[in-house]
Structures are given as structure tokens and as C-alpha cells.
Symmetry: C2
Subunit: 327 residues, 2 copies
């Protein structure tokens, strides 16, 4: 990966940075931000890390997670440079007002496709598996010695965005970079344990109850939809909440012919539906038809009213080839 010279010289020249990332941050946003802040401090720079939201409890194993501030302090507002990581628009970090008011020089470093060109300097690499992979190459390029703490953050960033090397963005460079990060001190198994094997017993029980609700609807011979449901009664019974259902929709995808997993979570006036696909059916189109949105293989929407009717509405849309175009 080629690191642009203007990014490197900007970081070398300037003295103070506000690093911010998107709201509801996940592993790549957090890990790449923390690692870059550590690297810049090793260069003698002043850095403040900002996110609107607190670091989720299951990411508090990341060394340096406590560096994040959730408010723009007077000190932060005096910093002259903003680095936006893992998103490419100040809006995604809820910093539009801040940028308008204080006009910091703004640098964007991201691996997502851009919708519009924000910032004064941009480094966008959609082929990178994670922003963490870009930050790793940036740190190498700047000749800063990688510490174990930086390596742990960057490895986590890459691990989460590739599903520990299971998604289609896993190429040989990702595995090579991961190997080098392990040499620098990242511990693959303790990171994987922190990411995947720290469910509460209650959350696991909720998962089992949810899987017990599974029904398979056959659209065609090898085109199945799996429907699972979690009700408010189930949350009460297990002492859990909505945040505990993260990732639930993925489990029925394990079944060979299940091209779409639809997970219905009861909300006040109806259902929040999470769709997960594995190619063949573009669930973003389905979600959009219900006023929601998302990506090709992961999308969601809300629907009011009765569960059975909500299921039928989904199934009737999936069977319309104009929307789903599996083949």
C-alpha cells in the first residue's frame, strides 16, 4: 500500500491534532484512532481523541481506550488540525457544526467509498480491508517503532473488519500485515477471545431462545429465508436488552441454502428487522423498499404492527425478483 507523501509531511509538520471517528464506533474506528494517537505522541505531538459515544464495554480491552473524550472541551476546540478516521464526512462523527465554527484543517483517512469529497486532504483506499491496515502502513512509512499497544489496536481493527480473516476483503496483504503485527506484540488468541468469547450467560441464553424460534421459508429449491424473532417478553425472561442481540442475525446464515437471515426484534410499535445475506440477494434493496437501508449483505428496517403480517410483507417482497434478483 502506497502512503501519500502529503499525509506523511502533514503529520510531521503539524503539532496538534484532534482525532475523531464515527458515532457508534466499532473495532476498526477505535483501534485505528488509538494507534494513530499513540504514534503521534511518540513523535512529540499533542493529540486529543474524540468520539460522540462512549467506547462500548466489549472494546474496553483495547489498550488506550480511556484516551477517548466524548465532549469537545475548550482545549480540543483550540486544536488546529482535525483527522477524521474510518469515515469520510464530519457529519458521520457529528462534527459538522464544529468544523463550521472552528474551521480546523481537516484530513480524512478511510477505507469506505466516499459520497462527497470532504476535508482538505484525503487518503481514501476502498481496497483496504480496514482503516487499521492503512494506519499500520502509515506508521511504518513514518518510521515510528510499533509498540505492543499499537499492534494490539491495529490487529483488532483488522480482525473485526475481516471477521478474523473470513470475509472477502481478506487478501494476502491483510494476512501479511497481521503477521507483522503479531511480531510487534499483538496476541491473536487473546484478541479473538476478547472479541468473540466474552458473552454473558444471559446473552447466550437469549441467543438459544431466539434460535428456537427459527422458521425456514423456501422461496425456491435452494433459496431459503430463515426467520428468527426476539420479543420483549424474551428480554425480560433472560434479563437482556437490545444491545445483546448484536450479531444474532448472522447465525442462521450458517445453513447452506439460507441466502437471507431475517431477524425480527420487537420494538414499541412493531418490529426492527435485521437482514443478513451471503450473496445472491441484495438485502439493501429490500430494506430500502421498507424505508430502511444498508449494504448488499447487511441491512435493516422498521415495520409497524403485527408480526405475522410483517413476515408476510417481507416474504412477498423477496419473492419479487425485481427486488432480489438472485440467480
Amino acid at each position: 500500500m502506497r502512503v501519500p507523501e502529503d499525509i506523511v509531511s502533514f503529520l510531521r509538520k503539524e503539532d496538534d491534532f484532534l482525532i475523531a471517528t464515527h458515532i457508534n464506533p466499532e473495532g476498526d474506528a477505535l483501534g485505528s484512532s488509538i494507534a494513530l494517537s499513540m504514534a503521534l505522541e511518540l513523535m512529540g505531538k499533542r493529540v486529543i481523541l474524540y468520539d460522540r459515544d462512549p467506547v462500548p464495554y466489549f472494546y474496553r480491552f483495547l489498550p488506550g481506550h480511556e484516551r477517548f473524550s466524548n465532549s469537545i472541551t475548550p482545549e480540543a476546540s483550540r486544536i488546529s488540525n482535525l483527522i477524521l478516521l474510518d469515515c469520510n464526512d464530519p457529519e458521520r462523527a457529528e462534527l459538522s457544526d464544529f468544523v463550521r465554527e472552528y474551521r480546523p484543517f481537516t484530513v480524512i483517512i478511510d477505507h469506505h467509498e466516499t459520497r462527497r469529497d470532504s476535508g482538505d486532504l484525503r487518503w481514501i483506499v476502498p481496497s483496504a480491508a480496514a482503516t487499521g491496515q492503512m494506519i499500520y502502513h502509515l506508521i511504518k512509512e513514518m518510521g515510528i517503532g510499533l509498540t505492543e499497544e499499537m499492534a494490539t489496536n491495529l490487529y483488532t481493527a483488522i480482525a473485526i473488519d475481516t471477521g478474523t480473516f473470513r470475509y472477502s476483503n481478506t487478501d494476502s496483504s491483510v494476512l501479511l500485515d497481521a503477521s507483522e503485527l503479531v511480531n510487534a506484540g499483538a496476541d491473536p488468541s487473546s484478541i479473538a477471545t476478547a472479541l468473540y468469547d466474552t458473552w454473558s450467560r444471559e446473552r447466550f441464553e437469549l441467543l438459544v431462545h431466539t434460535l428456537n424460534t427459527m422458521e425456514i421459508r423456501k422461496v425456491e429449491d435452494k433459496v431459503w429465508v430463515a426467520i428468527t424473532v426476539v420479543t420483549r417478553e424474551m428480554f425480560q425472561r433472560t434479563g437482556t436488552g437490545a444491545a445483546d442481540t448484536e450479531n444474532f442475525a448472522n447465525f442462521p446464515r450458517m445453513i447452506d441454502n439460507v441466502l437471507v437471515s431475517a431477524f425480527f426484534r420487537e420494538i414499541e410499535d412493531g418490529w426492527k428487522v435485521s437482514l443478513r445475506a451471503k450473496g445472491g440477494i441484495n438485502v439493501a434493496k429490500i430494506a430500502e423498499a421498507f424505508g430502511g437501508g444498508g449494504h448488499r449483505n447487511a441491512a435493516g428496517y422498521r415495520i409497524k404492527g403485527d408480526l405475522d403480517k410483517a413476515k408476510e410483507a417481507l416474504m412477498s417482497l423477496i419473492t419479487q425478483k425485481s427486488v432480489t434478483h438472485y440467480s
Copy 2:
């Protein structure tokens, strides 16, 4: 990884090989055997692949899986060299009688600890993550060009034995080798889909039934054992078999305080117990106490008689700190 010269010269010198691996073969056994057979054939050798058991249906995506024979044909019995892969005793391949009768020159290549020294030539590397990793280095050392088919088999072998780079045997060399195998044509995401997202509906239903049996036994405050059970009645009800339970023991490990997951599968005269740990408790020691074996974090044994008694026997051993020494 240093490849012993005597192994290389043996493979170069000899002309015909029976490659065999353990009964109930999994991804490492299958992938390393198939890849080695392909490499030897490229060298102009005659190779027969043998396993007592058929290749499980979910491993039939491996290119070359149809090479396996499940019987010792007259042709196979005339071969003068036996290579035993991913196990270190002809007994584990149910080949003790064959070895006694035909006395082939026997080479052992394995990453499991040995209990006794079988074979005429041994290459045992317990620090290797998978036998597939050893075979990769062997093929490189012999200067044979890696084909896409070999790379897919070897990547699968490594992926399954490291849980796609999540287990504690994942070090920087494993990730580096995986990166090179991707360069040689292995496709991480299609292999991961084949390994994890192609369950039959019946197998998934069996998993849900199994998870419904889960009980948590608390050894200490944050030291829990999860026990799950599958009975022959459950196999009948779902139309599944023993091979479908591969990986079942891993699911309860997702719970934070579950240091050991014990999965009891009903067999003719009792129970086959699979133990999975995540550090803290060495399950190989527990399995050995029951006459079984395995690794620190994955081991198994058989026990006769009543289920409740079998559970109690396990729990009473786990609570003996001499065996488990968690801390």
C-alpha cells in the same frame, strides 16, 4: 520451520506411498493428506490416499477429496511405504493390523504430542499449528510448485486447526504461511464460507437442540463448566449423525466465564466427551485421566455407562486443582 533432511530424501527416493490419516478425519487431516498426495504425484510418484471413514460431506469442497479410498485394496496393500499424517500411531488410523501384516516402511508426520514412538521415521512438531503447516513447509523445501488446489487444501487445514486464526496456536508464522497460500491461489472467504456457512438445516437444528441441553456448573466464582449433550434419539429425530456434531463443543465457550465446554455425545456403550477450553484449564490432562488425549484447549475421551455419573466424574476431576491448575 526446519524440515528434516531424512524426510525429504525419503520422499525423493521412494516411488510409491500409501498416505493415511486418523479415523473421523477433519480439515487438517484431509487437507494435508490431499495436498501431499498432489505434490508427490507432481514428482511422478504413485500415491494412494486412505481413511477408514468417508470424507464428511461438508469437506467435499476440498479439491481432490475424491482421492480418498475407504478400504485397503489389494493394490494398496502392495505399496511399500506408509505415510501417517496428523496422527502418530497406526492405531489412530485403525491400521495396526495392516502394519503388522504388510510391514510397510512407516513415516509419521504430525503436530500432536506423541505417547509412544511409532514408525520408522518421525517428524513431530507440536509447536506447529496444523499438520498442514508442516506439509506446506515440506512442499516448499522440496521445491515443488504449489498449485491452487494444494494451496486451498493447506489453507483449509490451517484455518480449521486455528479456528481461522483465533486459537492460541496462531502465531506470526501461521499468518505469514496463510498469506503465502493466498498468493498461491487459496481464497480465504470462499474457504470460510465452505467451512462455516454450509451447514445442512438438519445439522443446524441438531445444534439448537444441543444448546437447549446446556447446563452451567460453577466451579468457582468465574470458573464455569458448560455441559451439553446429544443423544442417539436426537440424531434420529433430526436425521443427523456423529459427523454433524463437529465444532458443537465450541459454542458454549462464547460465554465469558465458561473456561471449559464439555460436549457429551451418546455412543454404543456410553459417551464420547469433547472438551474445549480457552486457557486456564488444561483439558488434555483431564482427557488423559479418562484414557483419552488431545491438546491443552481441545481434547476428548470415552466413558462408559450412565450420563449423570459421567458428568459427575468430569466435574469431580475438574475441581481437583492438581489436574486443572487454573489460576
